[in-house]
Point group: C2
Chain length 226, copies 2
């Protein structure tokens, strides 16, 4: 298999059937040996975290499939920590799509004069940021994405609509375990003009609370898979 | 007359007819004695700049009136450096609406990996930032303004449409003097549900080039009024 990309937490291979294979690694983003999904460089290795993230992703991708939402997910091989996915092109040099159900984190750092930490954002609020460590992952608007030639307005609308639906499904699933989803980040890609969810849906991509206290990613994975 | 607000460059009085009087001052925003419209604190006083900004504003507000665009402008008294305007409420704690015809400045600082400095933004690109010195005037999207309860989607659409029209009119006027408008910032307000342009349209609100070189605000005012 030809390795076409070496990522921080996953390697990417090209399959002969035209699909792509993601190999989940045990490397985590973090700083000073502490796991932090918000960090941009690999900070530590946690044995088994690759498989755990894969299993979490499978769980959510299967739920989305049942709900009739097409994603890049095709199948998975947990023993080998691999997931077969549809090929897709990322937007620009990488774009994160964040859906916020409750205001916290960078939203409060930006808009804290207008809203209190923890306030419900009725119906969910969607925003996009460029993956750009040096520039601090800058926020970019729908009009900005169009002006920069990153995507069409129709693609943005489809992405936003899917984001709201998927977030609602993930939040409902977490609620069954007494978990409260505050926000979640996704990555989308496109194949021809079709926009689909790509990458993973794992604990490191979401901010979740239980009984008013934040649940750290490793603990969250245990609860989700338990 | 009752002074209802003391601004950095203007004082605001309440008139008996229900309108509002803006008194243009000679105080300028800047740093270390150098005029800089982008600065947030008063840095120096330039004799006559209040009247010059008022005259520039009158010129543009009159052109907009002729073009059938309603603004807060009612009349002016240049000798006393005052402008009578319709009352309007600002959005949130102050919102700046920027229209960019060519990519430069903070747009390049944020998105320089996607676009070259000076690139034409076809049709104009509109964005909004909160006036918030401590937070570095954060960008806020249409959805963000709605989520924060600052304005409705309809108000945003009206504001964006007016911004594009007004920017085109100002750019065309400047082009008559060989000037090239790169970007311009506005402030809008609302009275009931009607969104109208408020504040001023002066040299400090726009970035203008002539023969490929930026024209400083004091020089720009001379050219516009000359």
């Amino acid at each position: 298999m030809e390795k076409i990309y070496q990522g921080k937490t996953k390697d990417v291979y090209k399959l002969e059937n035209g699909n792509v294979l993601l190999k989940f690694k045990d490397d985590c983003t973090g700083k000073d040996g502490v796991f932090d999904p918000g960090e941009n460089s690999v900070g530590l290795t946690i044995e088994g975290i690759g498989k755990a993230n894969l299993e979490t992703s499978i769980k959510f991708f299967e739920i989305l499939k049942e709900a009739g939402i097409k994603t890049h997910y095709v199948s998975a091989d947990v023993d080998n920590a691999t997931m077969e996915v549809l090929p897709a092109t990322v937007f620009g040099h990488g774009l994160e799509v964040i859906c916020r159900l409750k205001a916290t984190g960078s939203f409060i750092r930006r808009y804290g004069d207008y809203i209190a930490d923890g306030t419900v954002l009725e119906g969910g609020y969607v925003e996009t940021t460029f993956k750009d460590d040096a520039k601090g992952d800058p926020l970019v608007t729908k009009d900005g994405l169009i002006a920069l030639g990153v995507m069409s307005g129709e693609m943005y609308d489809s992405m936003k609509e899917q984001t709201l639906k998927i977030t609602r499904i993930v939040a409902d699933e977490l609620a069954k375990k007494g978990l409260d989803l505050y926000d979640i980040k996704f990555e989308f890609g496109y194949n021809n003009n079709e926009v689909i969810l790509i990458d993973e849906i794992a604990s490191g991509n979401m901010r979740v609370y239980k009984d008013g206290k934040i649940v750290e990613p490793v603990e969250l994975t245990k609860i989700i898979l338990g």
